[in-house]
């Protein structure tokens, strides 16, 4: 037992003497979490806000309907959503060709007159081809405005015709008697409008639903706590793997053979390697936990449970790489395969993308990875739920890997 402890202590001292690589693999998940979190932070209201959409507007109408449309952009919500620049058609086209705006809305000539005459007219939306989302929002906005204008033009068809007629007349040439039928007609429309719009006859209430067992984002949710566990487990694998690969390096440069001259048994050596990998990983987890709390305000939930998860996950990683090294022929093979395995685990297990965003097939494959169960466990503890399933699964499979490593690795060491 003391020999095992000696090796663990020696391994730890070696890692601490040149800690840069370990520190770097701790910095990377923090940096990536910081970057992604700051960009996609949904804020307190839990709604991811898009940046303002730069919209160019070409007003070829310059009449009442165009003014009404432009006035709509002064409303609070639309003002936050769109950053509108009024341009003429050639300048707008040039700007769009340079990709300087998300979209350009072109109000056609005679737009107001055509609406008043109940003639069809066409709003034009020029979309920036290099953007994927914002031009679509501008297009949907234009489509809704088109419906609104069509509705208004039809509701006030008679009134619009009369207003157009009045505009060519002087005040002196119109009598009150001539205006009375118009006013009476408008009054009836306004009463009808009041009936249907105040209060609104038909409203929609949106409700977000969850399937049984599906996890949602609670209000005030911290995006960093959503991202960081995935990043942490990915780089934890990178941190623990070299400790176990050391078995191959020592075997290649003859150190193992020399060590075997001492009373040390190969089983003790394997056990020590597994636990030194575990210890490095666990220490990194402690640092990551503190850094996550300090830098991102992550609430890890019940700390003891979280520490238990960290300990079991680190043991899993260590046992897994010990087992793999039992099957790798040499250090080159270990070096060549370890990183791809980690990256595949990370891609399928939810470290690179949230688990919910992955296609169903990938999510199924992801269940075979430590990343998936570590992330699930972390989230459950953060949400105050029981992490029993992830903990049990990781512990049982970790023990199985360790058992295989204990049997197979000593044979490799004796070769």
């Amino acid at each position: 037992m003391s020999r095992t402890t000696l090796i663990i202590g020696n391994d730890l001292r070696r890692r601490l003497r040149s800690p840069m690589a370990t520190i770097l693999f701790l910095v990377i998940p923090l940096a990536m979490t910081g970057l992604i979190g700051m960009i996609f932070d949904p804020g307190q209201d839990n709604r991811t806000k898009l940046p303002p959409i730069h919209l160019l507007v070409v007003d070829n109408d310059k009449d009442i309907a165009a003014k009404f449309l432009l006035g709509a952009f002064d409303q609070k919500e639309l003002k936050e959503m769109f950053q509108v620049t009024l341009v003429d058609a050639p300048a707008g086209e040039k700007l769009m060709q340079k990709g300087k705006a998300s979209a350009m809305l072109v109000i056609p000539e005679h737009f107001s007159a055509d609406l008043a005459d109940q003639k069809p007219s066409r709003l034009e939306v020029v979309k920036n081809p290099s953007e994927e989302f914002l031009p679509g929002v501008a297009e949907e906005f234009a489509a809704t405005m088109a419906v609104g204008f069509s509705a208004l033009a039809q509701v006030f068809a008679d009134e619009l015709r009369i207003i157009r007629g009045f505009r060519s007349l002087t005040l002196e040439s119109v009598t009150i008697a001539e205006m009375t039928p118009f006013l009476e007609m408008a009054r009836a429309k306004i009463i009808a409008l009041k009936t249907y719009l105040s209060p609104m006859l038909l409203k929609v209430k949106s409700v977000t639903t969850k399937k049984p067992g599906q996890e949602g984002k609670p209000l005030g949710f911290n995006i960093f706590s959503y991202i960081f566990p995935g990043m942490l487990i990915m780089f934890l694998l990178f941190i623990i793997e070299p400790s176990l690969r050391e078995i191959q390096n020592e075997r290649a440069d003859g150190k193992t053979r020399r060590m075997m001259f001492s009373p040390l048994s190969s089983l003790e050596l394997v056990t020590a390697r597994i636990f030194s990998g575990w210890l490095i990983g666990f220490l990194v987890c402690l640092l990551a936990m503190a850094a996550g709390m300090l830098l991102f305000g992550i609430d890890w939930g019940r700390p003891l449970l979280q520490l238990a998860l960290f300990a079991i996950a680190c043991f899993w990683c260590s046992a897994f790489f010990a087992m793999l090294n039992a099957f790798f022929r040499n250090k080159n093979q270990a070096g060549a395969f370890a990183s791809p395995i980690i990256l595949v685990f990370s891609a399928f297990g939810g470290s690179m993308l949230p688990l919910e965003q992955l296609p169903a097939g990938m999510r199924w494959v992801g269940k075979l990875t430590v990343n998936n169960w570590f992330i699930t466990g972390c989230r459950r503890i953060m949400d105050g739920a029981s992490p029993l399933l992830p903990l049990t699964l990781l512990a049982v499979t970790g023990l199985a890997f360790a058992a295989v490593a204990m049997i197979a690795l000593p044979r490799r060491l004796s070769v």
Partner: protein, 373 residues
């Protein structure tokens, strides 16, 4: 020149012989393309804006309202029983007609699955709003007459204003697919990762095992050795790009716009990364450190530069910060070529910035490049 070519070609050969070569240059990037292409290109769940309408109405108005929802942009399904699975359901209650006929205000529920696609959900949202506007317009036109006669004497809503969508003149004719957006980003990211990691490690290993020193015992000069190493890493980047472009053309019908200009962009970017990899491999002495620094640089550059997500959804401050990333300039060049059909006149400033990155990296690499520990 022959010696430079010889050294560079040898480095490339060694890389191709690596056991994990095809994983790094082909399989892993392809997995990335599939994941990110599906994530941002189209929804993983509902590729079209699907909307299920649960019509429980006992009168005519429910069916009439559903007709107002019909649109080419929406995939409509009408059911009479609550569906077991859905992305979004609009519930028309049993008393929908009664309340309309009584002119009593009502709220209809729109249930959205939390995992459903947000973009498709937004389309469904606007289509429902538009349907409500259309129905209300008809009701206002109908006025306060007897509602029982509505369907016989109504004045139906007409779409007087339509919306025509187009792309800017003299750019591209076809609306780009999700993969058109994703592939250039993956290409830029993997050129960075491949060249920095492989290129950096091999410089360090060659120095550690005195391979560089032995090369100098031959007739090759220091300049030829450095040039050869630079060329080797440039060839790595170009090979990685060629494999991804070929896979993109074969599997995803990648559109590269002007092929020559896109190739020039790749060459200039790969050259900048080649020089940076020599710098990284010269200042760092451990493989783990090189991998760590390269991953950090490649991931931060890729994230900031718009390789992972469309740069348009990033807050303005980050868009400004992105300019420090060479990936941003390479991506912007691709956008100008692929989506706007621009020529050399529009992209030369970007290429100049990338050449600037390359020049600074080369100067740093030259300053720190050592043949022995």
């Amino acid at each position: 020149m022959k010696k430079i070519w010889h050294i560079g070609r040898l480095d490339l050969k060694l890389m191709v012989k690596d056991k994990a070569f095809f994983f790094w240059v082909l399989l892993f990037p392809l997995a990335f393309i599939l994941i990110f292409g599906n994530l941002f290109g189209s929804s993983r769940t509902d590729t079209r804006a699907s909307l299920t309408v649960l019509n429980q109405d006992r009168g005519k108005w429910g069916a009439y309202f559903i007709r107002k929802l019909e649109s080419p942009k929406i995939e409509l399904a009408v059911v009479n029983e609550p569906p077991a699975e859905y992305y979004r359901v609009l519930v028309i209650p049993p008393d929908f007609s009664t309340r309309i006929e009584r002119k009593a205000a009502q709220e209809i529920q729109f249930l959205k699955d939390s995992e459903a696609d947000l973009k498709a959900g937004a389309v469904a949202d606007t289509k429902i709003t538009q349907a409500i506007v259309k129905l209300l317009a008809e009701l206002v036109m109908y006025g306060n007459r007897d509602m029982k006669a509505f369907f016989d004497t109504r004045n139906p809503y007409r779409d007087l204003v339509s919306v025509h969508t187009r792309l800017p003149k003299d750019t591209i004719a076809k609306i780009p697919s999700g993969f058109d957006h994703t592939l250039p980003g993956i290409l830029v990211q993997f050129v960075m990762m491949m060249v920095l990691i492989y290129g950096g490690i091999s410089v360090m290993e060659d120095r550690k095992h005195r391979v560089l020193a032995r090369i100098l015992y031959s007739s090759a000069s220091f300049a030829e050795l450095f040039g050869g190493k630079l060329l080797g890493r440039l060839l790595m980047g170009l090979l990685q790009s060629a494999i991804l472009v070929a896979a993109g053309l074969l599997l995803f019908r990648l559109n590269l716009g002007n092929v020559w200009l896109s190739s020039l962009n790749i060459v200039v970017f790969a050259a900048a990364m080649a020089a940076l990899s020599i710098f990284v491999g010269s200042v760092l002495r451990k493989e783990e450190l090189i991998i760590g620094v390269s991953m950090l640089l490649a991931n931060m550059f890729a994230g900031l530069g718009g390789c992972w997500w469309p740069i348009e959804i990033v807050p303005p401050a980050f868009r400004a910060a992105a300019m420090v990333s060479p990936a941003y300039w390479a991506m912007d060049t691709f956008h100008k070529i692929i989506f706007f059909g621009k020529g050399f006149a529009a992209v030369w400033p970007n290429l100049l910035v990338l050449l600037g990155f390359g020049a600074v990296s080369t100067a740093l690499a030259l300053r720190f490049f050592k043949v022995e520990e």
